[in-house]
């Protein structure tokens, strides 16, 4: 068991290093930080001093090592655009994005999995066809359009829900939460649906495809041949076997949510990390972009690791057992 975890962790390290390299390369070669930070006029002496201060005259690998050491401590320098520590900026905005992602994921799973199971089991019912049509449309709608449509209907025409911002948030230590106020919760609804809808349809189609595969297997046929009840076959055997591979993909989807939040946050002017990232892409704010990239990579790698562990816990075939004879 430990060897499994250890090997997975070891595999994660080169990925992180590769991402760090890309981030750092962006830092080092794209744009001229000196010019950006000092403005238009500067003397050679000023430049030389800054270069030495920032360590820009040292060999590539030394700078890279510094970068990594700093990164691990969460130190990413100052934002070009806002002149504030990047880490602080990201930290401020993280709760907004995380809460949004959590709500969206919850919604996507709560609705997507049952819909997928239903359309897998009862392939030809009219409800299944309805769900499938709905999912097809869902996959064809870009996230931002969903947001716009929802805003149009619920904010402009019906005036029920807010179209931007988080509402009132409560500060709990470092974390700011929108769950504790009515306006906060109302503000969460439309963005969560927007963010979660795409994932919902993906999850539904995935569960359905998996379910159909499983229902065709020999062991399901054998279960039926043994006269097991429909409930035992469908919900005991088929469902369990379906959900195991679904876990992996669902886990990865959760990571994707944090990335897709970029679009949703833009539509709803949600003050999260995604909006920050977009603003920095537009302004060529490299430190923020690099930091966001590293953070996203860490999140993805971390989620991958957890999903692998979950898989291990759930599928007995992965635990190399006593073996046959």
């Amino acid at each position: 068991m430990f060897s499994f975890i250890a090997s997975r962790v070891l595999q994660a390290i080169p990925v992180m290093l590769a991402v760090a390299l890309i981030s750092f390369a962006m830092f080092a070669y794209v744009g001229d930080p000196i010019a950006i930070m000092l403005g238009q006029d500067f003397t050679e002496a000023q430049r030389a001093r800054l270069v030495e201060e920032l360590g820009l005259d040292q060999p590539f690998w030394v700078q890279f090592a510094h970068f990594i050491v700093n990164a691990i401590q969460g130190e990413f320098g100052l934002s070009y655009r806002l002149s504030r520590p990047v880490a602080q900026l990201i930290g401020e905005r993280a709760p907004a994005t995380l809460e949004l992602a959590f709500c969206a994921a919850f919604l996507a799973l709560l609705v997507g999995v049952p819909m997928g199971v239903y359309t897998g089991l009862y392939r030809h019912s009219w409800l299944s066809r309805f769900f499938l049509t709905f999912s097809l449309i869902g996959v064809s709608l870009p996230t931002f359009l969903i947001g716009i449509l929802l805003i149009l209907i619920f904010s402009v025409w019906l005036g029920l829900l807010p179209s931007f911002g988080r509402g009132d948030v409560v500060q709990l230590g470092w974390w700011s939460t929108g769950f504790l106020t009515l306006s906060g919760i109302k503000a969460l609804i439309l963005p969560s649906i927007t963010l979660g809808l795409f994932q919902l349809t993906l999850i539904m189609r995935l569960v359905r495809a998996e379910m159909l595969e499983v229902l065709r297997t020999d062991y399901i046929k054998f279960a039926r041949a043994r006269g097991l009840s429909n409930r035992a076959v469908n919900f005991g055997h088929a469902l369990k076997n379906t959900l195991v591979p679904v876990i992996t993909i669902v886990g990865l989807q959760l990571g994707a949510l944090i990335a897709f939040a970029i679009v949703t946050e833009t539509v709803f002017q949600w003050p999260g990390m995604g909006l920050l990232f977009i603003q920095s892409v537009g302004a060529a704010d490299i430190p923020v972009m690099a930091a966001y990239l590293m953070m996203i990579a860490a999140v993805f790698v971390g989620i991958n690791l957890i999903v692998d562990l979950l898989y291990y816990a759930v599928d007995p075939r992965l635990r190399v057992g006593r073996g046959g004879h």
Binding site: V15, A18, M26, Y29, V30, G31, L136, I137, V139, S140, L141, P142, T143, F144, L145, I148, L149, I151, L152, S155, V156, S163, L252, G255, A256, A259, F260, I262, V263, T266, V267, F277, I278, S280, V281, G282, A284, I286, M289, L293, I296, A297, F300, V301, N304
Partner: protein, 304 residues
């Protein structure tokens, strides 16, 4: 020629195609969209980019069926008096151009990598697929954003604007190649172990020849399915990037750009500026998705 045509119409594929009215409809719709976009300069009622023809007094006109609308502008006008319908046609042009180009780019790159990995095996396979896997763990939109952002930062603004279209195509293409590579690699592995390939090797046919004339044709089926579904994704990605303001340049607005512009007027009630381009986008992507779904089911040997 006649025999070939007859074979096409007699095939399982055609039968499955004509069997589903939905699929036929989406094919027709897709065709209409493509033609409309291609022929936009010829058949659009107005040219929204011809500054001379714009009339500011015609700004913010609602669609023709509304009381204040005019037949001249069937879907209304935007804040500068541009006809929404024409803007949609030109915008669809850009959207489709980027979508197709990006998909073709991703397909060429991905098929090449997949063939090399699957046929070469061993080290090259391991390395290439590892790269593909790592890239696959990140959502493509993120990769496209990143590539776009880096290029934007690396180049001065004027240069960037000139080549922005290519940058977008490149960014989206780069973000999508792993899917092609994986599919092709899998099929190549299967074909490589088949006897006819081994026979060819024994005779001494050079590897590239084998890959091109033997392996490639057998791999095209799944590639086509992936390409169709990716086309839909590419169009959506471009729309998203343009909506976020980091996609196509403002001189060549796509549907995404139009939606972004129109979004500013949503709250003040001029909904048509953003909704109609949105509907056009949905219709295009939906029909491509339907076709892709049908193609996948029709080519899936297990479902026959």
């Amino acid at each position: 020629m006649e025999a070939a045509l007859r074979r096409v119409f007699d095939s399982d594929l055609w039968w499955s195609f004509t069997r589903s009215p939905v699929v036929v409809l989406s094919a027709v719709v897709a065709l209409v969209c493509i033609l409309g976009a291609l022929l936009a300069p010829l058949i659009a009622p107005h040219n929204p980019f011809d500054l001379a023809s714009l009339n500011l007094s015609d700004a913010f006109k609602p669609p023709a069926w509304d009381a204040e609308g005019e037949g001249l502008y069937p879907l209304g006008t935007d804040d500068q008096g541009r006809d929404v319908l024409s803007a949609i046609m030109y915008g669809a042009r850009v959207s489709l151009l980027v979508g197709f180009s990006a998909t073709i780019f991703a397909m060429l790159l991905g098929v090449l990598v997949g063939l090399l990995a699957g046929y070469g095996g061993g080290f090259s396979d391991a390395v290439l697929m590892r790269i593909a896997d790592i890239q696959l763990t990140f959502p493509s939109i993120l990769i496209a954003l990143l590539v776009d952002g880096v290029v934007r930062a690396a180049l001065p603004r004027e240069v960037h604007d000139q080549i922005a279209l290519f940058v977008v195509i490149f960014a989206i293409g780069i973000s999508e190649w792993p899917k092609f590579a994986r599919t092709v690699r899998g099929s190549t592995l299967v074909e490589r172990n088949k006897e006819y390939v081994q026979a060819a090797r024994v005779i001494g046919v050079p590897s590239w020849r084998i890959m091109l004339s033997h392996v490639l044709p057998n791999v095209l089926g799944p590639v086509l399915v992936v390409a169709t579904l990716n086309l839909a994704l590419a169009i959506l990605s471009e729309a998203t990037l343009s909506f976020l303001g980091v996609g196509v340049p403002p001189t060549q607005p796509s549907l995404g750009t139009l939606i972004r512009i129109g979004n500013d007027f949503l709250m003040s009630g001029e909904w048509w500026i953003t909704i109609f381009p949105g509907v056009a986008l949905i219709v295009m992507v939906l029909s491509v998705n339907l076709l892709g779904d049908w193609l996948r089911d029709a080519l899936n040997p297990k479902l026959r």
